[in-house]
Symmetry: C2
Subunit: 461 residues, 2 copies
């Protein structure tokens, strides 16, 4: 490490202070429209907004269509700035979750309303303020310090919220344009204890629908004792995926999963965990399966899950209707720990159901994501934490894993590049994916201050 190379950030910070009001205006403009991959809404506008941010920085931009097989899908934006070594790859996405249910928003989802220092908009926490804070940091750096101390490459996709279905071949085909020494992911934040979190891994994902069928029409339930009931069928099949305590069990599950490493467990044990505040976030009195205290923290990071995201069968309106439903559908997301793959999980699920006579239940594969992991002792993790400390943070949480998922393994496993989630704008009540998504403007400013320092410190490694 060469202390001489570290620039003075006085002018940089002053620039941010002076221009922060107009930065908030830019944030509001950037959040003013939906970009919904699943619904094919606002995709061209989403790309245009990203171009409008990158072009003034002097970025070399390459808009990559996702190909003829999905010509209405949002393209991937690749960009490059600067020329020095090393190379840092940034990952962001310009799509957002749908805003529904609209009636639960206290201000219109694309209005960017500010209340009590919080900025409310769909997508602001996930991932628009993250993306913009990096843009604004580069602008401040170029204006107040000079050329970037490293080369920034940028991968900005438009389908993250629907599972990045077209990203793998694009990363594969453009591996040269994406190659880097390090990578900073989107979407970290401060958690319930309100200190910066640095996250070193994501769980994988397998998303499936289970379909069961009964009579060929919703039938009078007077024959309920003899007609096969598809809702009962799924209930019975699902119940074999939990043991008596409620733990997720499946034939062969343990054989394909890595336990956390010693370093991971050590990092996990060093993490603070305020159970009551975490529970309060969800209005809960306790966790599932009677999990207590730090057990819950470790489970959320290190255990695979079988989650029911939706169960739909028969009549759901007011009052009573006496039918045997004709069909039943369960939506499930399985979160995967390192070494588990969507393909292997899908095979195990099929075999588990077949072995118990449930071969009539159809499994519809809605896609998957691999788990991704960077060692907690990577220099990248150290730099990420040091920058927060330079900014005056007394505590920094280093999480070996988190329960969420994303296409991070395309970078960690696919390109062999260490990846970390840091410098994000989220806080405990950001409610990404829920109504009243928000960030705190103070965190937005911290993130802008963070990234210039991060570039400098990483270049100095």
């Amino acid at each position: 490490m060469n202390q001489d190379n570290t620039p003075n950030f006085g002018a940089y910070d002053e620039y941010i202070e002076q221009h922060f009001d107009s930065m908030v205006v830019e944030l509001r403009e950037f959040c003013a429209k939906p970009t919904l991959a699943g619904q094919h809404i606002g995709l061209a506008e989403g790309v245009a907004a990203v171009m409008g941010l990158l072009e003034p920085l002097g970025a070399r931009i390459h808009v990559v269509p996702v190909g003829e097989v999905a010509d209405d899908a949002p393209p991937v934006v690749l960009a490059e700035l600067g020329a020095s070594q090393p190379t840092l790859l940034l990952y962001n996405h310009y799509d957002v979750q749908p805003p529904e249910p609209l009636e639960l928003w206290d201000s219109p989802p694309y209005a960017g309303d500010v209340r009590d220092g919080k900025f409310y908009a769909r997508g602001v926490a996930d991932d628009r303020a993250d993306l913009l804070s990096r843009v604004l940091a580069i602008r401040a750096y170029l204006t107040t310090i000079g050329e970037l101390p490293l080369r920034v490459r940028w991968l900005i996709e438009g389908e993250e919220e629907v599972g990045s279905p077209h990203l793998p071949p694009i990363v594969d085909e453009h591996a040269g344009e994406l190659q880097a020494d390090w990578c900073a992911w989107e979407s970290s934040g401060r958690g319930t204890i309100d200190v910066p979190h640095i996250i070193c891994g994501l769980k994988g994902l397998l998303y499936v629908e289970l379909h069961a069928t009964g009579p060929n029409h919703d039938a009078h339930s007077g024959n309920g004792s003899i007609l096969p009931n598809p809702a009962w069928r799924l209930v019975t099949a699902l119940s074999t995926l939990r043991d008596e305590r409620g733990n997720f069990v499946m034939d062969g599950l343990d054989d394909i999963a890595d336990k956390p490493t010693e370093a991971d467990m050590k990092a996990a044990e060093a993490m603070p965990f305020d159970e009551q505040r975490e529970l309060a976030l969800y209005g809960l009195k306790g966790w599932q399966r009677g999990l207590k205290g730090r057990e819950a923290l470790y489970s959320a990071m290190f255990e695979p899950t079988a989650n029911i995201a939706g169960f739909t069968s028969g009549y759901g309106g007011p009052g009573s209707k006496t039918i045997v439903p004709s069909k039943a559908v369960v939506k499930m997301d399985f979160r995967l720990v390192p070494r588990q793959t969507p393909e292997a999980m899908l095979g195990l699920l099929r075999a588990h159901l077949d072995a118990r006579g449930f071969d009539d239940i159809e499994i519809v594969d809605l896609g998957g994501l691999y788990p991704a992991k960077t060692p907690v002792d990577s220099p990248l993790v150290q730099v990420s934490a040091d920058v927060w400390r330079d900014l005056g943070e007394k505590e920094v949480i280093i999480a070996p894993m988190t329960g969420g998922s994303g296409p991070m393994s395309l970078i960690t496993s696919g390109l062999g590049v260490p990846v970390v989630m840091t410098g994000g704008v989220g806080y405990a009540e950001s409610r990404a994916h829920s109504p009243n998504e928000s960030i705190r403007l103070a965190d937005f400013k911290s993130a802008i201050r963070y990234w210039g320092r991060f570039f400098a410190k990483l270049a100095d490694l």
Copy 2:
């Protein structure tokens, strides 16, 4: 029995032949409008249509409002005709099921379209053609034979399709007006073997919702391994209501249920059962729980059931959404055999769940009906069968029970009157409660011919 009193039905049958085309027109008029108790649609018109049929017969009519507590509910119509002994009580209802889903109808649900000798309309099988066939039989009798040979009393309600919630106190308060020697219920038919069915009992009903709650908002499923999932909670609770084979089990269930009597079993054994045709009605290859052949017939009549009529939780739209749902609701109808009551079943269900730690699951009681039973060797059953044989039917099926439910126990247990279901217009593909509900016009004519003879033979007992 006094053969001398039996009138000659030559002129009666001729009258029906001559006027049958206009009777079909009357059926179309009677089916032209919805009368939906649950949705408060067409109630006044429903009463007016019934009055328009009964008044020309010279009936003494008493329209009974259901009281101040439910002043928007459809009234009950009580009527009386004739003066001779004995007294026969007829039960019908003027409400129908909602027509949805509309897109599955091949002709508009209230058009009364005739195709291949079948008449299609919502409510025609359940219960408008039944009611009208009795009206037309009385008209034919009065026109061609003379005064009715017995007193007919009529109970016509407008809430059968929503579980007759206001009927019990009305039957209680008007017991004198309803007292009778015998009672003929609505809604019998011909079944898959296409011969008349005489049904001697109805199962009871308990309808409930089970509610489970998780996080106070649909939460990101990255925390799916620690957040309580209400869909999983209901799956786990429900799975305790079935044994390994799939039989309905509940603590104390067997203690409150009567087994079928010896006479019931003998009657059941005498019933023909065409398993393949029954399965074909539902597009099925087999029954639930591996039931085979006559096992299914006996189960449908004599076993209590726990049916899932609806399961609603989380996301049910296209594609994937990764959430832990905030709530889950299951709708269940329990069908009750003799001696089981809705109150006792509700108590057992609560205790069964509590004993397994599911005291967090809320049970919402949506109402119930008692089982009802008339002995298969009642003279009423004999008369019902004899009339069919007089009409040339070679085979008549006498079913000790059926899987459906209704307020029949108000008459059997409440008034101590034997009740039978006979003389109905339904056939195997009537699809009561489903789109394309229909009757065959030949069955409608048979029913009109049936009721005049039934009055005469019952009077002659």
